[in-house]
Amino acid sequence: MKEVDCEGLTVRQINAAIRRLVDDGERDIVVRHPAARHNLAVATLTEARITIDGPVGYYCAGMSDGANVEIHGSAGWGVAECLLAGTVIVDGNAGNSAAASIRGGAVVIRGDAGARAGVAMKGGLLVIGGVCGFMTGFMMQRGTIVVCGDAAEAVADSMYEGVVYVGGAITKAGADTVVSEATADERSEIAATLSGYGIKGPDSFRKIVSGRRLWNYDRRERGLWAAAL
């Protein structure tokens, strides 16, 4: 295990140090004193384990492909944005747009997530241990979001595909969504997934999928479009 101490370093220097270690074959890296800096550990394209020992700012671990990043603290906006593969685990809360546009991998937020978590997801898994903010799953195209707590207004608004499971209360589901109870098989699958990350979720979940009525414009459904826009 090798350490990168952020004290006195610029973000560019920190990321260069991480990349140098990865290129040298190191697969277990600890980043100390991150002090909520932005853009840490971005674009790591190798299956390295990177533990960040403290809070991070915006876009931590974004554009990564295969790295397993664990953040021992909270994360700012856009954590794990555009993740391709690997895992990003946030021990605390996350700001807006967590896991935005991810294509694969898993993003786990043990605490609460801000607005638009999982916006435009194109695959992968987003787990939120606490509550999620406004418009979570907005325009998601594929993948799975599991929210153990409550979902704020407009959850899964205008989603194309994919599925959102909510364990708590749904303030108001987004436009063009269909809400049903998760089946026993789905509940078992969710429980197994959560257990893998050490999260105990609620016993029941509601499932939100696309109503598919916004896929193509139909002037007989102008009201639906007006509401969505």
Binding site: A36, G54, G76, W77, N93, G95, G114, G133, F134, M135
Partner: protein, 280 residues
């Protein structure tokens, strides 16, 4: 962009609020290099603390003067100052509130005013990236709300119905001192407080009545809070440790002043939170 910060000592005792605000603004300096300012609610004075731009030929425009007036009537004091010094611009008036601001970053602010030495129970700060209005002291933030002692605001974002609201207020006789859309927030809150609303009620109403993308922090002598737009378009993170509550656009500013382990959480869409300032 722009950076906003707020800091409240939970105990209500006068602490190194200026130093905390400066540390937070320094951490956010990259969000706004054009100007910086702080509003600090310090120990109460006998009269009214007044910060104003001199507006005289011998001093360059934009230079702040601080004085104390043995007066209690804010409106009369404003009128008197403007009658005596027509070019003067009043930056703040309050028994406890003092606003200092300057073109340039937080380092300039410290060099000019010694902000780190300002003590108090709570304060707000702003570091500005100008997008629409002029870069000068007048258009810098925080803004005092005018006509009322001890109410100030710092804002990040755009108030898109600013011109419509300004026309309405101007028809009611309200004077605006700048072309900065953020000034409308203080005017709005002042009017609501004048109608008998609490700061929390006024800020909750503002989330409905103001349009655009905004996070703002506001405070009076006895209350401190923040509001966020209903679409959550501007960042605002709330942090808390055993001694203090701090709010800022980015956690890097909270990290500069809160003792770990502290909690940090992005405020929800349309959120308003107001804390009472405990009398120390």
């Amino acid at each position: 962009m722009c950076g906003i910060v707020g800091y409240l000592e939970k105990s209500g005792t006068s602490g190194a609020v200026g130093e905390r605000l400066l540390a937070m603004l320094t951490a956010l300096a990259c969000r706004g290099p054009d100007s910086a300012g702080v509003a600090v609610w310090g120990p109460a004075s006998r009269g009214l603390k007044v910060c104003l731009t001199a507006g005289t030929a011998e001093r360059s425009p934009g230079t702040l003067t601080r004085l104390e007036a043995p007066d209690d009537d804010v409106a009369a004091l404003e009128w008197s100052i403007q009658a005596l010094r027509p070019g003067a611009e009043i930056v703040s008036v309050g028994r406890r509130l003092e606003i200092v601001k300057q073109v340039g970053g937080p380092a300039t602010l410290e060099a000019e005013f010694g902000v780190a030495g300002m003590g108090g129970t709570h304060g707000l700060g702003h570091t500005r990236l100008s997008t629409e209005s002029r870069i000068d002291l007048s258009h810098s933030q925080p803004f005092w709300a005018h006509g009322i002692a001890d109410l100030a605001v710092a804002h990040n974002g755009h108030i898109t119905n600013y011109h419509r609201l300004r026309r309405i207020y101007e028809q009611e006789g309200v004077r605006f001192y700048t072309d900065n859309d953020s000034e409308i927030i203080g005017v709005y809150l002042r009017c609501k407080l004048g109608e008998g609303a609490s700061l929390e009620e006024a800020m909750e109403a503002s989330v409905r009545d103001l349009d655009g993308s905004f996070s703002y922090v506001a405070a009076t002598a006895d209350a401190f809070g923040f509001a966020k737009d209903p679409f959550c378009l501007k960042p605002l993170i709330v942090g808390e440790d055993a001694d203090a509550i701090a709010v800022a656009n980015e956690e890097v500013a909270l990290h500069a002043v809160l003792a770990p382990p502290y909690t940090a959480r992005e405020a929800d869409a349309g959120a308003v939170a107001v804390w009472k300032v405990v009398a120390g």
